[in-house]
Amino acid sequence: MRVGLFLTCVNDTLYPGTGRATVRLLERLGVEVDFPAAQTCCGQMHYNTGYRHDAEPLARRYADTFADYDAIVVPSGSCAAMVRDNYPRLGRRARDEGRGEALAAHLDPVVPKTYELSEFLLDVLGVTDVGAYFPHRVTYHPTCHSSRMLGVGDRPLRLLRAVRGLTLLELPEKEQCCGFGGTFALKNPDVSAAMGTDKARHTIATGAEVLCAADNSCLMHIGGTLNRQRAGVRVMHLAEILASTESEPADPSSAPAAAGARAAGAPCAPAADCAPAAACAPASTTARGGSR
């Protein structure tokens, strides 16, 4: 089986640790995984903000890049949902606009082959116990796109329950959105912040050391809020917990989004589910010293 890793532009750019963990995990399970370098972005930011025509070439690129793989693994519920839920819509809309079947014919083949990480592990590989070891208290946030659009259900929880040493804690009001929502965080900052603050409060209430999710964009938002509050709770992607073993344990305390880390800027990540764009490059170049 030829497995392609679609890491997503956010992970590639800001969270390469998630990518390395995904590769390590899959290789440990005997999967030969490839990262085709032609990949970039699923087009979600453009699509969701109302720039569907700009999303089309990105979707086309995805389909071209991954056409020959038997399965495509995506460590991001929201980008996997973009492919599975919205690519067929892109095709339909193009057809409705009299642009023929070309786009649909292009996109359709990759849609059913695209799996979010937990789906791939359980549904394709058929493993629940991935041999991980992570002796920490963890709470899990089922991100909206993972749970509602993709319907991953309890797959991530089943994987986490099989991790040795891990204590799984229930997150109150877990199904409520964290308030990231891509460009929503920029367009409706007050509501977004209020939602993030509540999510952070619920996270802290669990007494967990680590908040886990399968979407780094949501974790960026919640982790950024926890950080600002110096809450001492780390955020980690599901892949990093599953990749952790006794011989190579992941250490949450070295997770960079830890409390006390200084606020550091990235050009435009909060604006999008997507990677930094040249257009959003930082307007100020004020150097900030480290505060540690």
């Binding site: 963990a21 370098a37 959105c177 308030g179 367009k187 989004a257 830890a258 800027g265």
Partner: protein, 525 residues
């Protein structure tokens, strides 16, 4: 339309109002729980939901036929049918009808359609006073306020505020509140009942909406929980019902589906307390179940245009149960007034810009008043894919089309999106941008200017890592599969000794000067 601020501005005020947030969280939280419990009782809920969706969908597809059927049936039953293309026409029709009766007072049973068209204001201009009889509407009316929820229009008020409103204002509208009025719900309800009873007994004209119109018999249906509707519908001599053209269900058998879907979704009840139906007028001999004179005003007001949009038309399936409001995390924080419309929450965000267009900045901001979390779609009893319509309307806002000229204020965003697309459509450019970001990360501000400031006010930003994944992969591949080795580009930053970036979710914490040559990669098999 009055000038309301755009959604984000109005929402800022609401999120800052602790009392309001508390009221909303409590009210929506309670009703959310009740809904979930009674929905879980039915093992055929999914099928019911599918049936509700399909009945509405089919009716909308053949709406012209069903509208003619309704008209014929109402006339056959002794009623009169009026067609109103827009708000002004509907208001004119109703005002003329009331004038013709010679009355100056009318009672009203909750009707969102009449709020949508601003009927009370239009009647007031003609010297006619409309008295709201729904408890929550009464609170809103006495408080010179606007409704903020479909089902619980006074959700933003708590009981001590209600007591004050009753005590201060009730006298101006009729029987005053008793002097010893407390803020106990039973006490407040009793005061309202006494106040309203007088009104019911003295009024000769009533104006209502309808939850459904059954095409086969021309029957209007109102579903309510206080009984005030029943009073309005039975006591007066003349009844004028203003009903949106999308409210039709073909048959009584179809109605049955909605009488199950609606109360469970709406109030969390298995069955709602009062379901009133009336068909035409009472015959001269007193037989029949309608009023002496019955007028049905069929309201378009943007609905035909909405129907023409193949994606957006599903909003017309809405049965106004308000389940989507009660689960919406945005509504819970922003409150109903921020939506600047009688239809707030997720349904308001897709219905209002379709009925009113997107030329107004408020209406153009509504499709963005959502994080696209999908909770609304999950609970909607007629399966309206609200996120899909939101994205569709966002496209209309930014792209514009012949009938909906492009909204202003999106130029900068469009340029940025185009630039981002160019970058993201090229792995080479993306890689270059990543390396530039990494090389300059020491210079990135911790607080962003412009729109980004809203982000950095409450959240810390992630920092660029030492190396993008794509560069790590290239290095690893060059070194032989699975064993990435040694130094690559000398300019590439490195993690500080002891740091294990792969352990964490995110990029290295990065106070490290990033000029030292790369050490062996941190990950080995």
């Amino acid at each position: 339309m009055p000038a309301f601020p755009t959604f984000p501005k109005a929402a800022r005020e609401a999120t800052g109002n602790a009392q309001l947030r508390h009221n909303l969280r409590k009210a929506t939280g309670t009703i959310r729980g009740k809904r979930a419990a009674v929905v879980a009782e039915l093992d055929d809920w999914a099928e019911l939901r599918r049936a509700g969706k399909q009945i509405k969908e089919r009716t909308l597809r053949h709406l012209d036929t069903y509208l003619e059927q309704v008209e014929a049936a109402v006339i056959a039953a002794g009623g009169t049918v009026h067609w109103a293309a827009d708000a002004a026409e509907a208001n004119r029709i109703v005002t003329d009808l009331v004038r013709a009766t010679g009355e100056r007072d009318v009672i009203k049973v909750k009707s969102m359609a009449t709020q949508e068209i601003g009927l009370n204001e239009a009647l007031a201009e003609a010297g006619i006073t409309a008295y709201e009889t729904d408890l929550a509407e009464l609170i809103v009316q006495l408080g010179d306020d606007r409704p903020s929820h479909i089902l619980v229009p006074a959700i933003h008020r708590n009981r001590s505020e209600v007591r004050e409103i009753f005590r201060d204002r009730m006298g101006e509208w009729g029987r005053p509140a008793p002097d010893d009025l407390t803020d106990e719900p039973a006490d407040l309800a009793a005061a309202a009942r006494r106040h309203l009873r007088e009104r019911f007994l003295s009024s000769k004209v009533a104006i209502s909406g309808a939850n459904f119109l059954v095409a086969e018999t021309g029957t209007a249906v109102v579903v309510e929980s206080e009984g005030n509707g029943r009073m309005c519908l039975t006591l007066p001599e003349t009844l004028i019902s203003v009903v949106g053209i999308e409210k039709i269900v073909p048959t009584w058998a179809d109605l049955e589906v909605f009488l199950q879907l609606l109360p469970r979704s709406s109030t969390g009840e298995r069955m709602n307390p009062y379901t009133s139906t009336w068909t035409g007028t009472t015959a001269a001999d007193g037989a029949g179940d309608g009023p002496g004179t019955f007028h049905l005003v069929l309201l378009d007001n943007g609905r035909t245009d909405t129907l023409a949009d193949t994606v957006g038309r599903q909003a017309l399936r809405c049965i106004r149960c308000s389940a989507c409001l009660n689960v919406c995390p945005v509504y819970e924080r922003a409150g109903g007034h921020a939506y600047g419309s009688v239809y707030p929450g997720p349904i308001g965000a897709i219905l209002t810009p379709q009925l009113r267009g997107t030329a107004d900045p408020l209406d153009a901001s509504l499709p963005y008043a959502s994080s696209l979390c999908g909770a609304c779609y999950e609970v909607c009893p007629v399966a309206i894919d609200i996120p899909e319509v939101l994205v569709h309307l966002r496209e209309r806002v930014v792209q514009g089309d012949a009938e909906h000229p492009r909204a202003k204020g999106h130029l900068a965003e469009r340029v940025a999106m185009r630039a981002a697309r160019t970058l993201l459509d090229s792995p080479r450019l993306l890689g270059a941008a990543q390396r530039a970001g990494i090389a300059t990360r020491r210079l990135h501000p911790g607080r962003l200017p412009g729109p980004g400031a809203a982000w950095t006010d409450t959240r810390d930003l992630p920092q660029f890592p030492d190396e993008s994944f794509r560069d790590w992969w290239a290095r690893r591949s060059a070194a032989g599969e699975g064993a990435p080795a040694a130094p690559a580009a000398p300019a590439r930053p490195t993690p500080e000794a002891g740091q294990t970036p792969e352990a964490g979710n995110a990029p290295a914490s990065g106070d490290t000067p990033s000029t030292t040559p790369t050490s062996a990669p941190e990950e080995r098999k």
